[in-house]
């Protein structure tokens, strides 16, 4: 630091602590609510300290479901969310890594056309073409299926661009050395490109898993059966804004469960992320 401060770094610490508290408070409160009983919350008597109903509330949420409706237990919803998030993340990684491989490492007629066809989709989020997309998925008979949930969200330019960018940094000489070492298109991909891409794949996985897990509008439209619902949709349906009958303790337990997987992914993969950045040679 350029200056020596009389009070050390008190001010930055204070500001950061306030920031962290603001960021954490809503989540803390949600957790607190998930440990109280319905009456305490409904009467507005809940204090910002955890209550005694933790196990009971979470057990009901995960395995039984809310009582005021015929909702599926959250366990099913989480499974649906998980399948959708994994489908989107892995599907996207798979189709974009091979398409980027084609665009970067081959020369063929309409190469740039293909690239631009993919590239333009960067500009079209699913929200703007929601009903026509819905109609196509409905026509294909994919309503209330995992395929219908994932496939329209699998295609996007992000992954292809990311892999293309990474492949461009792989030295040409590695391909040349591979050619001399007798590796063809498949072996070069499997033995060299794929191992080198691990960090990029991990990074893309983190982003896309979260993107998939957090989807809202699309699953809202495409799922009609309760047992196909994702957790993000499920929680919304548990809350009746105008109605005091909302079982907030269960809704908040659901919210905590809904946040858990993507937050864990971010926090755990942050290490891999940094590790990859630090250790990348060259």
């Amino acid at each position: 630091m350029v200056e020596k401060r009389r009070f050390g770094n008190l001010v930055p610490h204070l500001i950061l602590l306030v920031g962290v508290s603001i960021v954490a408070f809503p989540v803390y409160l949600a957790f607190v609510a998930s440990t109280h009983d319905a009456a305490t919350i409904a009467n507005g008597q809940m204090q910002p300290v955890p209550g005694p109903h933790f196990l009971e509330n979470y057990y009901r949420t995960i395995f039984v479901g809310t009582s005021s409706s015929t909702r599926e237990p959250v366990g099913t919803m989480m499974l649906n969310s998980f399948v959708m998030a994994m489908g989107i993340a892995l599907g996207k990684i798979l189709i974009s890594i091979i398409s980027a491989y084609a665009v970067v490492y081959f020369r063929f007629p309409f190469r740039m056309t293909a690239f631009w066809i993919i590239f333009v989709t960067l500009m079209l989020p699913v929200e703007v073409r929601i009903y026509p997309t819905y109609k196509i998925v409905a026509d294909l008979g994919l309503i209330d299926t995992y395929a219908g949930l994932t496939m329209p969200l699998v295609a996007s330019a992000t992954g292809t661009l990311l892999f293309r960018q990474f492949f461009m940094t792989i030295p040409d000489e590695l391909l040349e050395a591979s050619k001399i070492d007798g590796a063809g298109a498949f072996r070069f991909f499997k033995d060299t490109v794929l191992p080198l891409s691990i960090t990029t794949i991990a990074a893309l996985f983190v982003i896309q898993f979260i993107y998939g897990w957090n989807q809202y509008l699309w699953p809202l439209l495409i799922t009609t059966k309760d047992n196909m619902q994702t957790i993000v949709i499920g929680i919304k349906k548990m809350i009746v804004t105008q109605d005091a009958l909302t079982e907030w303790q269960l809704a908040m337990a659901t919210a905590v469960l809904a946040m858990l997987p993507p937050v864990v992914v971010v926090v755990l993969m942050q290490r891999l992320f940094v590790k990859g950045l630090v250790e990348t040679e060259k």
Partner: protein, 355 residues
């Protein structure tokens, strides 16, 4: 083992740029051929065409009895050492060396035998398990060499393999490459822009410029009798002085108002013809009697030798002499030169005007 024969090889890029303009070359079995020239002269392109990494626009490349124009790099039975080594960063040293053999289905114990043998030759046995990033530049260089020799190819190709190393290591590796090539007897083609590497390594020196071969020969022959002004100034350090001279008669040229005897002079040059006269800094001698007078601007001390800088008829001129042979504060030198060491070049074409 095999010889490498290039016949009128050309490379034209899609944009119409001619990188290689018709090169014919014969590299004998077990020979060490160095392609040297400034950057952009086409030497790397030529090497990459031999490797099969560039398509050949016209002409033919043969390795042994086989024309390889349409043969994949993997099937040409060559091995290549790249400037940046091109080691697979995610594979251990062992796997880097073994990869080419694995892809060819060589039995495991044979691979193991060959990798260990190459590692022993190159003294890299102790870090076979490491990843390339854990190695120093010199060690990576050895691994790159190891990857080439385990394959026991017909031809080694080197693409400026030493230019990423520091000066001291470069000299050391240069000697090792020479020794290794002698020991293995594998035909080698080596590209560099460093004329010292070129001189010391080659038994066949090829000087290239602008897509053409300027001269082919034994390194000493090229040094002693450069075929063109380009070769004359490219080979040798410090570079050959080029000063204007006027033909006075058969075997006589006037330089800086002094008459020089010339042993190698094309017959029939009309007196009065202006030529470029090449005089190597190390060939010039201080004369007791008459000679070329060179006013000295400054002196560079190199330890063993001194370089005296001056200007003659507007042209830069350098004289190299052992330290102490000439006093450092000399303001003017009077110079002579052995008639056999005067080189004449055409002013316009730069071609040698000798017999």
């Amino acid at each position: 083992m095999a010889e490498v024969v290039l016949k009128d090889v050309r490379k034209t890029y899609a944009g119409g740029v001619e990188a290689v303009k018709g090169v014919s070359l014969d590299i004998p079995d077990g020979g060490f051929c160095v392609l040297v020239g400034p950057s952009g002269c086409g030497k790397s392109t030529l090497l990459r065409m031999i490797a099969g990494l560039e398509t050949i626009t016209a002409g033919s490349v043969a390795i042994g009895p086989r024309v390889v124009n349409d043969v994949e790099p993997a099937d040409r039975d060559i091995a290549m050492v790249f400037q940046n080594y091109a080691l697979y960063p995610h594979m251990s040293v062992y796997d880097n060396m073994a990869y080419g053999l694995k892809n060819r289905g060589t039995p495991k114990d044979e691979i193991d035998k060959r990798v260990k043998e190459a590692a022993r030759i190159l003294a890299i046995e102790s870090f076979l398990a490491r990843k390339p990033r854990a190695l120093s530049g010199g060690q990576r260089q050895r691994v790159a060499m190891g990857r080439a020799i385990v394959r026991k190819p017909q031809v080694f190709l080197f693409d400026e393999p030493l230019s990423n190393l520091d000066a001291k290591l470069r000299v050391q590796m240069r000697v090792e490459i020479k020794r290794l090539q002698r020991a293995l007897g594998v035909t080698s083609v080596y590209v560099t822009h460093d004329q010292v590497e070129a001189m010391t390594l080659s038994d066949k020196l090829v000087v290239m410029n602008a897509g053409n071969v300027e001269q082919v020969g034994l390194p000493n022959d090229v040094y002693k009798r450069p075929a063109s002004r380009f070769v004359a100034t490219f080979i040798g350090s410090p570079p050959m002085n080029i000063v204007p001279g006027i033909v006075e008669g058969d075997g006589r040229v006037a330089v800086g108002g002094h008459m020089l005897a010339v042993a190698d002079m094309a017959p029939g040059l009309a007196p009065g013809t202006v030529l470029d006269v090449g005089l190597r800094p190390e060939d010039l001698e201080v004369s007791g009697g008459p000679g070329i007078r060179l006013p000295v601007d400054f002196v560079e001390e190199l330890g063993a030798t001194q370089l005296f800088h001056g200007k003659l008829d507007g042209a830069e001129m350098v004289v190299q002499a052992p330290t102490g042979a000439i006093t450092s504060d000399t303001r003017q030198l009077t110079l002579t030169i052995d008639a056999a060491k005067v080189h004449l070049f055409d002013r316009d074409t730069g071609a040698r005007r000798g017999r």
